[in-house]
């Protein structure tokens, strides 16, 4: 299960937060844990360089793109490698929507599109789409080209 996708700005304020199968009372804990993880480790990291951590049996892969940092949390079959795949899809979709590594402003301007992309990529904790070209078409309700 892909437990969480969280996108924050460079100061650790949450921009997007989507949990799956995480009880409401644990979400706050996860949020602060992830934000702290980012604050401790993401300084000076190159765009899209993946960082990894584990907390008990849960894995976390996270990265930075422009002004925003993205965290994905998973367990069981969503181990570090599956999460790396998921975060790769998310960052490429972000770049695609924003046209470049986004500033926070740009991210917020494209907020609706980004939500749609995330909806296509992860649905209730399962990875659904992985190809950015396809995602780009799907959010506009266009069928995929390969079809």
């Amino acid at each position: 299960m892909l437990l969480a996708v969280l996108i924050a700005n460079s100061e650790g304020n949450i921009l997007v937060e989507r949990f799956n199968g995480v009880p409401a009372e644990e979400r706050l804990h996860w949020r602060s844990f992830l934000v702290k993880l980012g604050a401790d480790n993401l300084k000076g990291v190159k765009n899209e360089e993946l960082l990894v951590a584990s907390h008990k049996s849960v894995y976390i892969v996270y990265t930075v793109l422009g002004d925003v940092s993205t965290f994905v949390v998973g367990k069981d079959e969503y181990d570090e490698l599956a999460l790396a795949e998921a975060i790769f899809v998310i960052t490429s979709a972000l770049k695609d929507v924003c046209g470049k590594p986004p500033t926070e402003r740009l991210f917020l301007d494209k907020y609706g599109k980004i939500c749609l992309c995330l909806d296509e990529i992860v649905w209730k904790g399962l990875l659904e789409n992985t190809d950015k070209e396809r995602i780009k078409r799907l959010v506009r309700l266009k069928p995929p080209t390969e079809f």
Partner: protein
């Protein structure tokens, strides 16, 4: 709650200074949502409002029931618009805010229409939304469409239906299971993701049918798998099949090994890893199987991508637990990871190295770790400390450098959990490595000089009180202890007073000085400290001439409370409820243990660790047994308990669960039958165990202690004692029959009927074997111990052990048979080796030290030969 949006730094360009959501407020957005009701819909504006709503939701904002309902109804109006962008937003919004089933009904017709739309993308999205908001009844209505969708030629529609199926399987499994044929067809799809989702769903549908999973795996491994993701799933399922089918015993081949090994050469890293991990997880994996997997993992250790390094080192760390030798080739690569930027990777690398390293590399490793420790978080440090603890027990000769390391880190900054881990480690080293005792105690003393944690200070003081007096120069600890009385809070002061008293009781020469110190504590401003000081001062005889401490006083100081705490609590409560002039008499509290904790049964032989198991209370099993037996008058004269071991006498989940604890004394054995009645409708009375000792001729029954009543789910104990020749390892077989009177119980009232029926229940037989007379006691330096025993009382013999699966199995069997403690990690047989030497030590009944050198060899036909060399303090024992 959502964190407020914070404006960016001023040095950004102008556009960044203003956020589209600045000052966003829920109430205002809900007002804005009224545009959804306009007869002339402005699609752009509606999209903007939905975006704002999504922003609020994604920030963790919650809507009340009324608010959600209102928005939900308004959003459904948007189905009228033909704008595709807006429609896509509407689908998302409904999923995010879908409320109760009775409201959902309004959108179902719109969604059903979309689900049959000629526009593919409407179909895909409508399926996803419907499946999220649907319940069982609606699902049966739309099932037909979903089945069609699974085999739809548009991959997005098929995937939507398949992923919906995965979710619905949790709530409506019986419906989803009917889609098997369609899913099976989708597995053959040429679209990569459809195949991936179909494979996952098909496996979930069939996961309880081993044959079907095996068939699925067989056909898939032969066919073409179109995406790395699906390939990973397939490897996982294959591994499951391998686990369940086991190795082909005739050819020695593992089914599907070739397939998994082939995946190690796949172009996607994800697949390579999955295959390598699968191989490392094989049960009884051979070195030949393991090597290619370790080789690819080793390559990834030096990858530039942290995720790959992490995955590799994490897998190798696991392998190191079971096959340390297989990982040693990677040690050089692993050492370079100690300085990895990513602390998770560095910690895993270190703990792996600590598992695979040999005695000679310890010092070098410790040097590297010292630099590393200063810049990692406590949680990682704890992992390292635990790894060092086990390393030290593995190589006791290295205790000096490891103890130094522990004492150094003890001095540095750190939180409670971390400090506790270090103190626990030092305590265990002191306990298991006699040579380490004095230096370890001094390190602990220095630590409490500047310890901010009351809990740790008191625990260390308690430990010091028990161990300190037995050292060569107990006086050197007094200063540290008395400093606590001067400098610390009341809790620590009270502990320090108790510790001082223990030194006074045990070390006669220190007694006058201890009296001086205790006298100073008599005027402490805390009640407890004062009371303790007075009590000890008087019991040790501080008010008279200095005489040798009485045994009873020592018992009082060192012995633990031999009354079950629960009984004492009940006793005190009764006393308070019913006040009297008489003072409370502790002797009036029954010593019999009413019920035995179930945990003990679940975890027999649980190894005690750390401070928590100091003889402070009813912690270690041996202590608890000793106390229990000595509290029973019939057994009180049997002397010191030598060894206790637990055996199950019934299968799991039988009517009556019974296990036996064999307690070995010098001239007696006591069988303690722990019985649990698992039938709520029954009460057992006058429960006895009839033991037939006809196959144990040298044992004669001397006492039996039946159980008056055994209610449902309340464990009780029956004891039977036998006499046996003194000091001789008498063996024999015992058969057992549980005899009792059953009474029916009315479960509604809990009242038993008056009349009962006599009944019997056969228990399994068990034996008293030679290993019961041997205690597992390790030695810190086997060679020294061996040399010091000398060859005079050595016996050597050779045995053939017949055909065995592997050397490991043979070694384990012999260890089990002898009941001795393997030393210096020699119980681990390197995989594929043809000969092995295992060192064992133990203490035989009569307190005789025994050492064994076990040399084993295995030949091509798996015949194992063994040479056993024994040295002991007593020739007869050898």
């Amino acid at each position: 709650m959502a964190q407020p949006f914070v404006k960016k730094d001023d040095d950004r360009d102008d556009e960044a200074e203003y956020s589209p959501f600045m000052g966003i407020e829920k109430g205002a957005v809900l007002q804005e949502a009224r545009v959804f009701n306009d007869p002339q819909l402005d699609a752009r504006r509606c999209s903007q409002v939905i975006t704002k709503l999504l922003y609020l939701l994604n920030q963790g904002e919650t809507f009340t029931k009324t608010e959600a309902t209102e928005v939900f109804f308004a959003v459904t109006k948007l189905f009228q618009s033909r704008d595709t962008g807006l429609r896509r937003m509407v689908y998302l919004m409904i999923k995010e805010i879908s409320t109760s089933a009775d409201e959902v009904i309004i959108v179902t017709s719109s969604l059903m229409k979309d689900m049959n739309s000629r526009t593919d993308m409407y179909r895909a999205n409508a399926i996803r939304v419907l499946c999220q908001i649907t319940d069982g009844t609606l699902l049966t209505q739309i099932e037909r469409y979903l089945k069609q969708a699974i085999v739809d030629k548009n991959p997005v529609v098929a995937s939507a239906a398949l992923v919906s199926g995965i979710h619905l399987l949790q709530t409506n499994p019986e419906i989803v299971k009917r889609w098997s044929n369609e899913v099976q067809e989708a597995v053959q799809s040429r679209a990569a993701l459809v195949q991936f989702h179909a494979l996952a769903l098909l496996h979930q549908i069939r996961q309880n049918d081993r044959l079907a999973v095996s068939k699925l795996v067989t056909s898939m491994t032969k066919g073409s798998v179109r995406s790395p993701l699906a390939q990973c799933l397939l490897i996982r399922y294959t591994n499951q099949v391998i686990r369940e089918s086991g190795v082909n015993t005739q050819s020695g081949d593992r089914p599907f090994y070739d397939y998994i090994e082939g995946c190690l050469r796949h172009k996607a890293e994800m697949v390579i890893f999955e295959a390598a991990r699968a191989i490392t997880e094989f049960s009884n994996v051979t070195a030949r199987e393991l090597t290619p997997a370790i080789t690819v993992l080793q390559l990834f250790l030096s990858s530039s991508k942290p995720v790959l390094r992490f995955a590799a080192v994490r897998t190798l760390n696991k392998v190191a637990m079971t096959h340390p030798m297989a990982v040693t080739n990677c040690n050089i690569d692993m050492e370079s990871l100690i300085s990895d930027q990513n602390r998770s990777i560095a910690t895993l690398a270190i703990t792996t190295l600590l598992k695979t390293g040999n005695e000679s590399s310890v010092d070098r490793l410790m040097k590297q770790i010292t630099n590393f420790m200063s810049d990692i978080a406590d949680e990682f440090k704890i992992v390292v400390v635990e790894a060092i603890r086990s390393l030290c027990l593995k190589f006791p000769l290295k205790y000096r450098s490891l103890m130094n390391f522990l004492s150094n880190i003890l001095r540095e900054e750190g939180g409670f959990e971390y400090k506790k881990a270090i103190v626990d480690a030092i305590v265990i080293l002191i306990r298991d490595i006699p040579d380490a005792k004095e230096s370890g105690l001094l390190h602990l003393c220095e630590f409490i000089e500047d310890c901010e944690f009351t809990y740790l200070s008191t625990q260390i003081l308690h430990f010091l009180g028990n161990e300190g007096p037995k050292t060569s120069d107990p006086s050197k600890y007094i200063r540290y202890i008395y400093n606590r009385v001067i400098l610390e809070n009341a809790t620590v002061r009270a502990s320090a007073v108790s510790t001082l008293a223990k030194f006074g009781a045990m070390v006669e020469s220190l007694k006058p000085r201890i009296f001086i110190l205790l006298r100073r504590c008599l005027f402490d401003n805390d009640d407890e400290v004062r009371d303790r000081a007075t009590l000890y001062f008087i019991t040790l005889g501080g008010d008279g001439p200095v005489v040798e401490t009485d045994e009873s006083v020592k018992d009082f100081l060192f012995g633990s409370l031999d009354i079950p705490l629960a009984n004492l609590e009940t006793g005190l409560k009764n006393y308070i409820q019913d006040p009297s002039e008489e003072p409370f008499d502790v002797n009036s509290v029954p010593k019999e243990v009413k019920s035995q904790p179930l945990a003990e049964k679940k975890a027999p032989g649980r190894k005690p660790t750390g401070l928590g198991t100091l003889p402070a209370g009813p912690t270690s099993a041996a202590d608890a047994y000793e106390r229990l037996l000595s509290s029973i008058p019939e057994f009180a004269s049997f002397g010191k308990l030598f060894k206790s071991s637990v055996l199950e006498l019934t299968e799991e989940e039988t009517e009556y669960a019974v296990n036996v604890v064999k307690h070995i004394f010098d001239q007696h054995v006591v069988f303690q039958y722990n019985c649990t009645n698992t039938i709520p409708e029954q009460l057992l009375e006058n429960v006895t165990v009839i033991v037939d000792a006809s196959e144990a001729e040298e044992f004669s029954e001397v006492a039996s202690k039946p159980l008056r009543s055994l209610p449902y789910d309340t464990p009780g104990q029956i004891f039977v004692a036998f006499e046996k020749p003194q000091g001789v390892p008498t063996v024999g077989k015992f058969s057992n029959m549980l005899r009792f009177t059953v009474k029916e119980v009315d479960t509604s009232t809990g009242e038993p009927e008056d009349d009962g029926v006599e009944d019997e229940y056969r228990l399994e037989d068990f034996e008293v074997v030679a290993a019961d007379y041997m205690l597992k006691v390790g030695v810190s330096n086997f060679r020294n111990a061996w040399e010091s025993m000398g060859p005079d009382c050595e016996r050597i013999d050779e045995y053939g052990l017949g055909s065995r699966e592997s050397l490991t199995e043979a070694v384990n069997a012999v260890i089990e048979l002898l009941g001795m403690q393997p030393c210096e990690g020699t119980e681990v047989v390197p995989s594929n080796s043809r000969s092995h030497t295992c060192l064992l030590s133990g203490v035989y009944i009569g307190n005789v030290k025994v050492l064994v050198r076990l040399s084993l060899g295995i030949d091509g036909a798996k015949e194992v030969a063994m040479k056993l060399a024994v040295r002991s303090e007593d020739e007869n024992v050898s």
